[in-house]
């Protein structure tokens, strides 16, 4: 976080359902910040408070503009806040065509004298691939199409911050992937900061740059996605999901015959099924803790292609279970490996010990770091 990047500064405290929300965080107004946590931990409430749709005691400032300050009895009503909000379900206006839905916010966008809109109608419509839907009624669209229109509508209202409340949770798996691809394009092409709420770690690692982890109304951790994912003490939170780490690697080359892409990660080579990325490009990968095994000697006669040399940094045994979480330094990046406690005892796994990490599966997250 550099000092010249404007910051979203939020703090809220108050009852939500059966618990008390008490959270304060800062997020740079650039890139994607994810609010991550289990369902019902207060993520949506925080988003609603930022939009002004819900009021809890607290403080909220966006850059140099204060939107809520209880000391000064200041509370800016939602329609005077420059945020875009994408709800869990698409919520298009049923009485308007897609075009009129998109124009709804654009017409009302607060605009200085003669300033050019920051986002352009044709550009947004094109990026979201909804040009052919403009004259249709929302009822005639598929779930994924509706959510794309809802995102476009929010963008065209010229927000300083785009709030997204689990925008993919109502969609099926394949539609999710399709929309995620559009989100990545937006992230790359448009310079609008996004605050993204999700309980799905794979969504978060794919999209987010920063992470605020929440549990039962409180903040547990915050930092870059990479940092947060490497923390074994967050296991109770991330363990319920697909715990793992994020790695960045550079494309080295491609093997057409076997349809593979070779990557360089701080001098060690990774092999993944071919992806559409140019040599020299930096890509982001996700490796789940349960897909990593450890060996004290380099194994031979094994089908696993990705075997990296590393050093054990941390071992955390989970009491009353068969498992232990380990963090492995692989000369730059880190890996997490989920092994049994029996294996820890048998191999004498301890801090500082050299090991070989066997990676069974790598997920390609996104092409470039925007």
């Amino acid at each position: 976080m550099t000092t010249d990047t404007p910051v979203l500064d939020a703090a809220f405290k108050g009852p939500v359902g059966s618990f008390n929300l008490d959270v304060a965080f800062k997020a740079p107004l650039a890139g994607v910040t994810a609010l991550f946590g289990a369902s019902g931990c207060g993520k949506t409430t925080i988003l609603r408070c930022i939009a002004g749709l819900h009021r809890l005691p607290g403080r909220l400032a966006l850059g140099d503009r204060t939107w809520q300050d209880d000391g000064e009895n200041l509370f800016r009503p939602p329609h005077k806040r420059r945020v875009g909000y994408v709800f869990q379900e698409p919520s298009l206006f049923a009485h308007l065509t897609v075009r009129r839905n998109l124009e709804f916010g654009a017409r009302r966008a607060p605009r200085g004298n003669g300033t050019v809109p920051a986002v352009n109608f044709d550009q947004v419509v094109d990026l979201l691939g909804i040009t052919h839907l403009l004259d249709r009624a929302p009822a005639k669209l598929s779930g994924g199409e509706r959510q794309r229109v809802a995102v476009g509508r929010a963008l065209l209202s010229e927000p300083r911050l785009l709030l997204m409340d689990e925008p993919l949770s109502a969609l099926d798996r394949s539609t999710k992937d399709e929309i995620l691809a559009y989100f990545e394009v937006l992230h790359r092409e448009l310079n609008i900061p996004i605050l993204y709420v999700s309980h799905d770690i794979s969504e978060v690692t794919r999209l987010a740059d920063r992470l605020v982890v929440l549990s039962r109304g409180g903040k547990v951790a915050e930092g870059s996605v990479g940092e947060v994912l490497e923390r074994l003490d967050l296991q109770p939170m991330t363990g319920r999901f697909e715990a793992g780490v994020m790695l960045t690697a550079t494309v080295k080359g491609r093997d057409e015959a076997f349809n593979l892409t070779y990557l360089d990660h701080h001098g060690q080579t990774l092999t993944i099924p071919a992806v559409d990325a140019a040599v020299g490009e930096t890509i982001r990968l996700r490796v789940r803790a349960r897909d990593v095994s450890l060996a004290t000697h380099p194994p031979t006669g094994i089908s696993i292609r990705n075997i990296l040399k590393g050093t054990v940094m941390e071992v955390r045994e989970e009491a009353d279970t068969a498992f232990a979480e380990t963090l492995i330094d692989i000369g730059g990046g880190r890996l997490r490996a989920r092994v049994t406690r029996h294996a820890v005892a048998d191999l004498n796994l301890a801090e500082g010990m050299p090991v070989h990490a066997l990676i069974k599966s790598i997920t390609f997250d996104r092409r470039s770091l925007g």
């Binding site: 329609h79 909000y85 206006f93 009485h95 709804f104």
Partner: protein
């Protein structure tokens, strides 16, 4: 009473008067019923259902009872008398204005309830969306709430109009039977029967029967169409 021959000209006056009364009443009800319906749909006040019950009273109250209280209120000693005094009359009872006021009370539940239901049906979400798209509450009401509640307005207007056309007890209590001023259709039918003029009674009664049938049928078709569009 000897047969006087068919009096077609005499039939026209109550028809015209009834249409005038129903139109004015419907317009007044849409104007004052909409904010009431909005408040009933959106307010979180605990006592709002008591207000809703007052609005709905005419559904169960005998029209003569409602008419009796309205008569008292409109008489020279009631607030209606004071209002009538503003233009030099003694009372609002037995005037067209009095009939409009009585009809507004009598038909109010038929207008307020469908509009309230329509406002409640779409919930908070569209208004929240509108707010995040920079629409002020007033703007959102007109550009989102009213268009989305259109079926409710249509149902309310049709039912309010039709119910006012069929009003009898209240009119009899507060309007009486003054031709061209307060003698509406239902009273005219009663009058024709009383004076044994069956032919005129048949024409008016048959006309009202067809009117009622057309209203109910079109309401049902409308609801079916809206139901389909929502799916």
């Amino acid at each position: 009473m000897p047969d006087q021959g068919l009096d077609l000209a005499g039939l026209w006056s109550p028809i015209r008067l009834t249409l005038e009364l129903a139109t004015v009443t419907t317009v007044v009800l849409l104007i004052i019923g909409t904010p009431i319906a909005w408040w009933l749909a959106r307010s979180k006040a605990k006592w709002k259902e008591a207000v809703a019950a007052v609005v709905a009273l005419p559904l169960v109250l005998p029209p003569t009872v409602l008419g009796f209280y309205l008569l008292v209120a409109m008489g020279p000693d009631g607030p209606g008398g004071w209002i009538a005094g503003l233009w030099g009359e003694r009372s609002l009872a037995f005037t067209f204005q009095g009939l409009v006021i009585g009809s507004v009370f009598y038909s109010m539940p038929f207008v307020v309830q469908p509009i309230r239901n329509a406002f409640e049906a779409f919930g908070d979400r569209p208004l929240e969306v509108a707010a995040t798209l920079h629409a002020s509450p007033w703007d959102a009401f007109w550009s989102v709430a009213v268009p989305l509640a259109r079926p409710g307005f249509l149902t309310g207007a049709v039912l309010g109009f039709a119910h006012t056309v069929g009003e009898f007890g209240v009119v009899l209590m507060i309007g009486g039977n003054i031709p061209g001023e307060t003698k509406v259709l239902s009273v005219a039918v009663y009058d024709y029967v009383e004076t044994l003029r069956w032919a005129e009674a048949h024409i008016l009664a048959g006309g009202l029967l067809v009117f009622a049938f057309v209203v109910i049928l079109s309401m049902m078709l409308l609801e079916k169409r809206i139901g389909r569009a929502a799916r």
